[in-house]
Symmetry: C2
Subunit: 333 residues, 2 copies
DNA sequence: TCATTTATGCTCAATCTGAGCATTGTGCCG
DNA sequence: CGGCACAATGCTCAGATTGAGCATAAATGA
């Protein structure tokens, strides 16, 4: 069925030459105590011993769809029920893969999953990490991250160090767009673009396959490395999630059955990396009808008890499916 | 390097078992005379002779990235310069692929490309089609598409025909969400969900591999079929594009160097399938600073001549990168 | 009891949106 | 040549949404 015709190589999707190695990678996200967490595993490292990486596995031909395959595979191996699952991106970068298995083009199909509990942390080799450990510049909840000073300096040097001045100017433009250097605003969704920029600028040890050799000083500024190019996958996931919570009620996949509005806000803030105006946040949630009150209230903690609410499942049937608009406030720390 | 450990199959992305056949599919979009078009080719059909399909080809291991590979491949074969290229989705559905090449899992990585001209229509076997020929229910510019009457009736019958009443209710919910049946609103972004629903309901001939045998009556209501599952890919592309134009200035990839505001509006309307309020549209474009005036005006046509404008490339460097908010008006036909 | 802390209610100005009316240039038709 | 039809363009206005803050309520703990 393979056939080239008149300049078009028209191929049946089912019968192609050049078989490739295809893997699945999962970014499994939870939010506990107002911190965003990703499930990681220890993998055999490229350079040194063992490194932190994302759960990954082979594409299993037994399953009818990619997503169902991933779901079954992860749920079986982590005892973790996956609620929301969404395909993220397919990575096929040759020189960015860990290693090239001789001629086979290798692809990784990445998925984002949102889960409620963290029981599987009990599993050996698997553990939850605050995702900002890997991308520390993305957390603005306590104000501008200190690490950005060092990063900006290095990025500016990188831009200035371009041989062609035109290239240098383009680099500076990108610095403005992504990191807001030079009067630009910080757009919390551009997580991947920021990571890519750091990668290109040589600030990411994974770029040279040296994830295992990152110096402590580097980790302090550019974060903890991951095996292969998994930080890129994580960056993709965070960016996607930050965008999605604005127009789809996906945060609730991360919440327990009942919760307070402030817990909800903390979770949204954890994901977006920015603080929100409290009163306006509740107004938004109320207006959209995202939650309904229970007759329980919290107790024990300091301050006035908060009413517990639950997600109104019906909103999934209402249009347009709402989410959260993120409007940062000046509250910090 | 393949290794299972403690419940996690941890695999280096580059060394996986089960090689798969991987293909690339491209949805190449242009907009001419206010109509949205997709580039199609004639492919050897599954059942009957030759069918319409999307340009597709094998993954070429020579290229450093998937996107660069696709770009080079399409540009060479269609003489069509691809401006904007974006990865859409990776399809791996087993039973939805055209045919299964014995044991190999087959994937299609789909891309969306926006182009300006349509020269390659000159190529034999390749031609441009109004994309609503394939998804006629998606075009609301002349009011509610007539085809929806027939579709709704069949969908309601499908929901009512569920053996389990619970399943039936869930189907009805989905009808409301996607097609707005039962008091719901039409959300122009849910193109894929609508297609999937029709597919499940058995209204899409491709579902049984009968794309080539669709009856004329069916084509009138559920649109022209495509080879394999390419209509699903097209639906994905349209949905994505409709979402994207709202927050990124991507429409300009489809416009000639200079154009009138109304031409721009027509293009946005063509993509979104809905009409917009003219004065508000210009206000939006002006406010956002998306275009700058040239000193030329149109002439020859009826009515007052319009000023020609051009896209302000600088907006790509301004934050947050703006797009179009789509607010339908009552103007129709 | 009072200070502290958090939850919750409410106000207000600025801006944004959706809708429509009015005016301005052109080509075209008697 | 005057007037008409037709788009383009300018402008207004009420209602809704946003961003920010003040005020009050209901707990805990010294």
């Amino acid at each position: 069925m393979t056939r080239a015709q008149d300049g078009f190589a028209v191929e049946a999707a089912g019968a192609l030459p050049n078989p490739s190695a295809v893997g699945l990678v999962a970014v499994i996200v939870a939010a506990t105590d107002g911190e965003p967490r990703a499930l990681t595993v220890r993998v055999p490292g490229q350079a040194t011993g063992r490194e932190t990486g994302l759960p990954a596995g082979p594409l299993v031909p037994e399953h009818p769809t990619l997503e169902r395959g991933l779901r079954a595979w992860v749920e079986r191996q982590t005892q973790q029920r996956l609620g929301y699952v969404e395909q993220l991106y397919t990575f096929g970068d040759r020189d960015r893969q860990g290693d090239d298995s001789g001629g086979l083009h290798s692809l990784s199909v990445a998925y984002l999953a949102l889960v409620r509990e963290m029981r599987s942390a009990a599993l050996a080799e698997a553990s939850w990490h605050n995702w900002y450990a890997f991308l520390p510049w993305e957390d603005w909840r306590a104000g501008r991250p200190a690490t950005l000073d060092g990063i900006e300096a290095k990025l500016l040097a990188w831009a200035a160090g371009a041989s062609d001045p035109k290239v240098g100017r383009r680099r500076e433009d990108r610095l403005g767009l992504t990191f807001g250097i030079g009067g630009g605003a910080w757009n919390e969704e551009r997580v991947l673009e920021r990571y890519e920029l750091l990668f290109e600028a040589g600030l990411i040890p994974e770029a040279q396959g040296q994830a295992g050799e990152a110096r402590v000083a580097d980790i302090a500024t550019t974060g903890r490395p991951m095996a292969f190019d998994h930080r890129r996958v994580l960056a993709t996931a965070i960016g996607r999630l930050r965008g999605k919570i604005k127009y789809r009620p996906v945060v609730f996949e991360l919440m327990p059955p009942t919760f307070t509005l402030f817990q909800l806000q903390r979770t949204v803030e954890a994901l977006s990396g920015a603080n929100l105006h409290k009163q306006n946040f509740r107004r938004l949630v109320a207006q959209q009808g995202l939650v309904e009150e229970t007759d329980e209230v919290t107790s024990g903690a300091a301050g006035r008890p908060a009413r517990l609410v639950r997600f109104r499942r019906e909103v999934l049937l209402e249009r347009p499916a709402p989410g959260f608009r993120l409007t940062p406030s000046r509250r910090s720390s």
